[in-house]
Amino acid sequence: MKEYLIISTSVDLVRASADEVVYISADGNYSSIVFLGGETRIVTQQLGQLEQAIAKQLPASGRNFIRIGKSLIINRTYISYIHPSRQQLELSDGRTASYGLTASREALKQLKELIEKEAEQ
């Protein structure tokens, strides 16, 4: 069943299909949600609030999302490349777009280990 992340404020509402969210980045008071195809929507929630919304609203697909440091939430479905020492993380939907992100070496090292560990199971 398709799950939706709903972000509601006093003036607007964003309804995002969980599997179409590629990543969310923090922009101070705002957060930018990047969707498949590259469309970006800025919402007035901080990243921590969106993390809580994901945990609460997405019981099945919530585990696809990984918080990386203070500034980033990614959908692990779209991880295509991790290079910790270069602080490089690439997400790709395999069709239309790829997204180059940066994060700390330590966080990317842990992400790499997590993905490796899960692949072995």
Binding site: T9, S10, V11, Y23, S25, A26, D27, G28, N29, Y30, S32, V34, G38, T40, I42, T44, L47, G48, Q49, E51, Q52, I54, A55, L58, P59, S61, G62, R63, N64, F65, I66, R67, I68, G69, K70, S71, L72, I73, Q87, Y99, G100, L101, T102, A103, S104, R105, E106, A107, Q110, L111, E113, L114
Partner: protein, 283 residues
């Protein structure tokens, strides 16, 4: 749910917390939960000050024409202030001022330059030469001071949210009047990543209120430029939306970390009644 996290950590959302490093995992988790409760009691406003600056701040990048992550690389975004960066596009030097932990608002009349909470202020809407009144629609704290469409770019500040856009008619004008917000019109510079052409062809030091990598910032040209050349430069930089601000020698200032003012332009000898500013006030 505890949302505290360091830039060196990752966490799977929607499941049990899984810090990848062992040792004191649960003790730390309970400690963080207790800290969260204390933080709620003490007031969320204090929470950002608990974040220590990180040498490896995570940042995201989507702009294809500039180096990834350059804008906020190494910047502690939890501290209030104005980050000053420069960027070179071809032979053009741009100064980029990014206010952090601040809220935007409009003001009319002379500003108090000694107010330490005003991090940055620049003149916003143009004034008519014949009668000194504001050009185009202008709303100050819900009060319309001027009406009409003369320029298609707009900036709206409603419920603390700043929106830049280009439209003949924007519902945000009405929203600003209904919700005590601010609104003004200016020449558009960039609309959804595309430079917008404007008629004036004179050269001047240009300023624009921009959205770059999702952040609101002020960008000032180091040299005199035409409006179209400046808009094109902003597009190349990766600005997603921008409107011009009063350029040339119009007055404004940026408060540096040590509290001194970096002046932009020259203070007017006499403020006109409707000289107006967009300012960024420390939260």
């Amino acid at each position: 749910m505890n949302t505290e996290i360091k830039d060196t950590e990752i966490r799977v959302i929607g499941g049990e917390p899984q810090p990848p490093t062992g040792g004191g995992r649960w003790r730390r988790w309970w400690w963080l939960a207790a800290a969260l409760v204390l933080a709620v009691v003490a007031g969320i406003v204090l929470r950002p000050r608990h974040n220590a600056p990180s040498a490896e701040a995570a940042d995201t990048v989507t702009t294809p024409t500039v180096d990834d992550g350059w804008l906020m690389a190494g910047v502690d975004t939890t501290q209030g202030g104005v980050v000053h960066k420069t960027a070179g596009i071809d032979t053009t030097l741009l100064h980029i001022y990014i206010p952090l932990m601040s809220t935007a608002e409009l003001a009319v009349g002379a500003l108090d330059t000694t107010d330490p909470d005003i991090l940055m202020a620049v003149q916003a809407a143009d004034l008519r030469r014949d009668n000194g009144r504001i050009v185009g629609a202008f709303v100050l704290a819900g009060e319309p001071l001027s009406w009409g469409l003369s320029k298609r770019g707009y900036c709206a500040i409603i419920d603390g949210r700043l929106t830049l856009g280009v439209a003949d008619n924007s519902p945000l004008f009405e929203q600003a009047t209904e919700q005590g917000g601010d609104f003004f019109r200016q020449y558009p510079a960039v609309d959804r990543g595309q430079a917008v052409e404007n008629n004036p062809e004179n050269s001047a030091r240009r300023r624009a209120l921009c959205t770059l990598e999702g952040r609101t910032c002020l960008i000032v040209s180091d040299d005199r430029m035409t409006m179209n050349a400046f808009a094109q430069t902003l597009e190349t930089l990766g600005v997603s939306d921008a409107i011009f601000l009063v350029g040339g020698n119009a007055y404004g200032w940026v408060r540096t970390d040590d509290g001194t003012l970096q002046h932009l332009g020259s203070p007017p000898p006499n403020h006109k009644k409707f000289t107006n500013y967009i300012l960024f006030r420390r939260r």
